[in-house]
């Protein structure tokens, strides 16, 4: 019973991390119709840069911000000089961003090496916390859940309750119409893209503190984020949240009950979805 609950918390903490990554992916697809396969590489690079900053300054908060901001700069350059030239051709976008991810991954391998590296966590978050009911659980993962929830709430407020959010939602539904009302859609794109990049970079630092960073991690985390997006439905923030919880929980119980087939567990939600609802839980026209 205790382990069942512990695995549930494991799943929710992974879900919090996946949500950070998937929300950016799904928003930039929803608004800009851009499929960015380099999202996993952004995660890894943000994590590595955060790691170096944390080692140099000893500050985890600074590492989170630095990892996020570094990826914002990189993401802007990729958008501005490469992705913009592909128009709405998804095939071209996928190949191009896979190429970008290969370059980032290989360069990162030369700089940070091939070992499993862990972003150092501040002392206050290192121990374990006793939860009501006598369960003892690593503090860091609880903080991660709080971080994911906070980002989720902030994004929801930004998306649903502010004027910028209203414009973004309008842009998701009909971009030309929004541009016709005199709103600078290009600036909107840059902002949403920067937000997505920042979340990916920050997720890298947060994830690097418990999943570790290593060559190849970019594709593993990307696939998890993609399953989240597929299950939740492309372009939907709420879908990303539900998808992240489903994938996080399935993965935690899968690793616990069927360690040799833990990846196979991911197949199940996709198969069900393909049979029943190919657009995902909250998906719009792709």
């Amino acid at each position: 019973m205790t382990s069942t609950i512990l695995q549930a918390i494991n799943g929710v903490s992974l879900a919090a991390l996946l949500f950070l990554l998937a929300s950016g992916f799904t928003l930039s697809f929803g608004l800009m119709r851009v499929v960015n396969m380099a999202h996993g590489a952004y995660y890894l690079l943000g994590g590595y840069i955060g790691l170096s900053v944390a080692r140099a300054t000893g500050s985890f908060a600074l590492a989170l911000v630095a990892g996020g901001l570094a990826v914002v700069v990189l993401g802007y350059l990729v958008d501005r000089f490469l992705l913009r030239r592909t128009g709405e051709n998804h095939l071209a976008q996928v190949l191009l961003t896979v190429g970008v991810a290969f370059v980032i991954g290989d360069v990162a391998l030369r700089i940070w090496g091939g070992d499993y590296l862990k972003v150092p966590v501040p002392v206050a978050l290192r121990g374990a916390t006793e939860l009501p009911g006598g369960l003892v659980y690593p503090t860091y993962r609880l903080v991660l859940i709080a971080l994911g929830a906070a980002v989720g709430v902030l994004l929801w407020i930004l998306y649903r309750k502010t004027q910028i959010g209203a414009v973004v939602r309008a842009g998701v539904d009909d971009r030309e119409q929004v541009a016709a009302t005199g709103i600078n859609v290009d600036r909107l794109f840059v902002m949403v893209s920067a937000l997505a990049s920042f979340l990916a970079g920050m997720a890298g630092v947060a994830g690097g503190a418990f999943l570790t960073l290593y060559p190849g991690a970019e594709w593993e985390i990307l696939v998890y984020a993609l399953v989240v997006v597929i299950v939740g439905g492309l372009g939907s923030l709420g879908g990303a949240m539900i998808g992240a919880l489903i994938v996080g929980l399935l993965d935690a119980y899968g690793r616990w009950l069927l360690p040799e087939f833990s990846y196979f567990v991911l197949f199940a939600p996709m198969a069900v979805l393909l049979l029943v609802r190919p657009r995902g839980i909250a998906g719009k026209e792709a």
């Binding site: 490469l82 896979v98 393909l274």
Partner: protein, 316 residues
């Protein structure tokens, strides 16, 4: 133009036949790989070039058939005559399951196939008691059936050349058949084909399974060449490289994927001999192809031919 093409094909075939005598084992090995990975690229291009579906899971069929052959031959001593068809069959069965993904289109199809492919990599990597984990399965013998046994790399090269040539011919017949025409119709406008009464879903599913079968075939040829198989063969880079090969060579053609395979494999051998960052170079090739050569070599050749044709007819 028909005669030019016949001459080019005859020269290429002659070059392929004399290669083992004219060049060393290094070039023969490279040519064998080029044929095998070209076949894999060709299989992805049945979907991409004709049906307009961008699949990122073809390494799965390739790897499942390779693993099946390796495990049956090495661990259970099953002869080639049974192991090779079993590999082909299992890869195709997997394609019949993954073929469910044709219920999605566009971006969803790309993302779903990528994730499905990853599941197979995960099984190869994690289920180490059966697949051998990261070490994979080693010591796969050369194929043989009774008195007919392959004993050298040269013989195997000729076998691969013959099989690939037959596959290319069969593929050409397939894409020129009414079925191929229907696929291209769906690529151009699925809604129109549906209103004409075509069951587009069934056609796409059939194309997916056929394409998976071809990828499995490549997997069988690969495992007998490589003599071992590990999770790398199921990994995402294999899938996406196969698509890149098809595009670089020229999507929608029969020769293109093989040209692309030759270019990528040649580049890998050449670059990794003096430069550590091969993956980064490959990434730049991806970017450059998308930006500057989306129609590939065959596309560029077609443009040149059209331009030459125009200048030739202009004075007349």
């Amino acid at each position: 133009m028909g005669r030019t093409r016949a001459v080019v094909l005859a020269v290429a075939l002659a070059a392929a036949l004399v290669l083992p005598f004219a060049a060393g084992p290094f070039w023969m090995g490279l040519a064998t790989q080029m044929l095998i990975f070209g076949l894999l690229a060709l299989s992805t291009d049945l979907l991409l070039g004709h049906a307009g579906l961008f699949s990122l899971c073809h390494a799965s069929f390739f790897a499942v058939s390779a693993y099946t052959v390796a495990i049956l031959q090495v661990r259970y001593g099953v002869p080639t005559a049974l192991a090779a068809p079993a590999g082909l069959l299992l890869g195709t069965v997997l394609a019949a399951v993954f073929g469910l993904s044709v219920r999605t289109r566009g971006v969803y199809f790309i993302l779903v196939t990528l994730a499905l492919g990853y599941v197979i990599w995960g099984v190869a990597h994690r289920w180490s008691s059966f697949t051998g984990g990261d070490n994979g399965v080693t010591n796969v013998p050369f194929p043989g059936a009774g008195p007919l046994a392959i004993v050298s790399h040269t013989q195997y090269y000729y076998l691969v050349l013959a099989i690939v040539a037959i596959c290319m011919l069969g593929y050409r017949v397939l894409v020129r058949s009414p079925f191929g025409l229907t696929l291209r119709g769906i690529k151009a406008s699925e809604s129109r084909m549906r209103s004409l009464g075509y069951r587009t879903g069934v056609h796409l599913y059939a194309a997916f399974v056929l394409s998976g079968a071809l990828a499995s075939f490549a997997g069988v040829l690969y495992v007998y060449y490589n003599r071992f198989v590990n999770p790398v063969s199921a990994s995402f880079p294999i899938s996406v490289e196969a698509v890149l090969m098809a595009i670089i060579g020229g999507s929608g053609t029969v020769i293109g994927p093989f040209l692309g395979s030759g270019i990528i494999l040649g580049l890998r051998n050449w670059v990794s001999s003096f430069f550590e960052l091969y993956a980064a170079v490959l990434g730049i090739v991806f970017i450059a192809t998308v930006l500057w050569a989306p129609a590939g070599i065959m596309g560029i050749a077609g443009q040149l031919r059209a331009r030459l044709g125009r200048t030739r007819t202009a004075p007349a």
